[in-house]
């Protein structure tokens, strides 16, 4: 069976996750069906429990009421223009854009329940960059790493696998509860 570029990218990223071990089949197999996930899985993300961990600057200033602001809690690792300013929502692409099937992932603290959630940062792709103003251009960097750790970097245009790799805006979907 030949491999699609997406399969190969998933494998590569999986190799990175697994420390170049052979565990790559594990996540690669999980990769394709996120859109159907209805209940939050508990993910094995290393993070001290929220109650006793010191908070990052972002976490101390985060709010949970206005998703069009850079300090909305899910954007702790978001880099780019918020889709919620562009006709979309915090996890919704504006009309005519397409969510990237691949994303990078962060963990953010919800100030309402003081729990840490796993956030999938998916770019919306295939349209010119959204023209929203400067207040919607965010640069969250909590636990963000350089490009040689590509699955953890937010400077990369995460539009792999889309019909067009042009960046339109950034979303943040809550996909799990950090353990």
């Amino acid at each position: 069976m030949s491999k699609s570029p997406i399969d190969m990218l998933s494998e590569r990223l999986t190799r990175k996750l697994a420390g170049f071990s052979s565990r790559r089949s594990f996540i690669a197999r999980l990769g394709m069906a996120l859109a159907a996930a209805p209940v939050l899985p508990l993910l094995p993300v290393a993070r001290a429990s929220a109650a006793d961990a010191p908070k990052t600057d972002f976490e101390r200033n985060a709010q949970a009421t206005d998703a069009t602001k850079c300090n909305y809690w899910k954007y702790c690792g978001a880099d780019g223009v918020l889709c919620s300013c562009c006709g979309g929502g915090s996890h919704t692409c504006p009309p005519g854009a397409e969510p990237s099937p691949i994303s990078w992932i962060g963990t953010c603290l919800n100030p309402q329940d003081h729990r840490a959630y796993v956030i999938a940062y998916r770019d919306c792709c295939g349209k010119p960059a959204c023209s929203a103003g400067k207040s919607c251009w965010c640069d969250g960097a909590d636990r963000e790493l350089p490009t040689y750790r590509s699955p953890l970097n937010n400077d990369i245009i995460w539009c792999f696998g889309n019909a067009s790799a042009t960046y339109h805006c950034s979303t943040a979907a809550m996909v799990g509860l950090a353990n």
Binding site: L13, L17, I105, V118, A120, S131, M174
Partner: protein, 396 residues
């Protein structure tokens, strides 16, 4: 090491993953968020669209909230038209394959109004590159689009929007702009002071008639931005000095004698003196027309002749049925950038919604863009992020 790596790692996860991972589902009932795509709600009367020379698309705003609702991609110096049934958007645009170089493609691009997905690129034989004018429009039935092109001669390409293909090209030497009427016709303004009216049958030669010259294109030209009610053919044109011409467009168009905006306001009619101070129309998209009421909204400023590109310091509201001034709305002057010497950064563009409680939209190039009540002149809100030199509204 794996645990550390998973701290903020890329994970493509799914419901299935919980069992594969052998981890418990949350009983709390919190559900994972799905990455989805919004659809655009149907056009409302208070929706408006802005675009411009440097903008990579037309931004869709809700005039009641000032919020962006989405955007329609667009290429070089693009024009927008809205299907009369609000089902589609049409963009006349030009691309070069490698930015400013490479293969040039001129096209009318069709977008679905709900998904904003691309429906079709209809390739054109050419396209005039002119900052926003009445040089792209569709007829009232939504069956045809008309595109003004300049090379090799002034012409109009008509596009069959049902077949999604170019129907043909008609030469209109010495004329420009497209004011559609009927199923098969459009009119254009001409440099000899006449109006050309063109009937383009689905097949066979086009028929072109000209009115007698009714204005002097050298001394008091009519602005490119007239208004036509595409369903009735009733049209409004206005000149640099502020004369308003009413026309009935059709195979044999007729023009009424003009009246003066300034006389309607109790002033003398303005002349063409380069040191003749008067209230004068000026700007880029310098007027807007409310079809149902017949009200014309014009950006006006005090100035001499040849200040027809100066922005407005007031909006004058004129009743085209009675030829009377209804209101004058003062506009707040916009601070200049402080860098230049020109006096232009007043409001350059105006649009009006077409409903019974109309809103006015005002743009300038400094970002101080506002929504006003078109009846009272009250400034209702700032428009977030709006820029460009182009306002479109549904229902016009």
């Amino acid at each position: 090491m794996l645990r550390a790596a998973l701290n903020n790692a890329l994970v493509l996860t799914s419901l299935a993953s919980t069992s594969l991972l052998g981890l418990p589902c949350l009983a709390a009932g919190v559900t994972a968020e799905v990455s989805d795509v919004a659809t655009l709600t149907p056009n409302t009367p208070h929706r408006f669209f802005t675009g411009g020379f440097r903008e990579p698309g037309f931004i869709i705003f809700d005039g009641d909230s000032g919020k962006m609702e989405g955007s329609i991609p667009a290429g070089y110096i693009a024009n927008l038209a809205i299907a009369p049934d609000n089902s589609q958007f049409y963009v006349a645009e030009t691309y070069w394959a490698h930015g400013a170089r490479g293969k040039r493609d001129d096209m009318v691009t069709i977008y679905d109004a709900k998904t904003l997905n691309l429906v079709k690129e209809i390739m054109l034989p050419g396209r005039a590159l002119v900052s926003r004018k009445q040089n792209f429009d569709i007829n009232a039935a939504g069956s045809r689009a008309y595109v003004y092109i300049m090379l090799p001669v002034a012409s109009v390409v008509w596009v069959d929007l049902k077949k999604q293909s170019v129907g043909g090209t008609v030469e209109i030497p010495g004329c420009a702009q497209v004011f559609p009427w009927g199923e098969q016709g459009f009119s254009s303004l001409c440099g000899d002071g006449s109006l050309a009216s063109v009937t383009v049958p689905a097949s066979g030669p086009a028929k072109v008639t000209h009115t007698k010259p009714f204005f002097d294109a050298n001394s008091d030209p009519i602005f490119d931005d007239g208004f036509v009610d595409r369903a009735t053919g009733k049209a409004i044109f206005f000149s640099y000095t502020g004369l308003v011409y009413e026309a009935k467009l059709g195979p044999e168009s007729t023009i009424s004698a003009p009246w003066s905006i300034q006389k309607a306001a109790g002033y003398a009619a303005a002349g063409t003196g380069v040191q003749e101070l008067a209230w004068r129309p000026g700007g880029a998209q310098l007027a807007a027309f409310h079809k149902a009421s017949g009200k014309l909204f014009v950006l006006m400023h005090p100035g001499n002749f040849w200040t027809h590109k100066h922005g407005g310091t007031e909006v004058w509201v004129l009743d085209t049925k009675t030829h009377a001034l209804v209101s004058r709305f003062p506009l707040r002057a916009v601070p200049s950038s402080g860098l230049g010497d020109d006096a232009i950064p007043y409001y350059m563009n105006i649009g009006v919604s077409q409903d019974a409680k109309p809103l006015l939209y005002l743009l300038n190039d400094q970002g101080n863009d506002v929504v006003m009540d078109a009846t009272t002149g009250e400034q209702l809100r700032k428009i977030e992020f709006a820029a460009g030199n182009n306002i479109s509204v549904p229902g016009y």
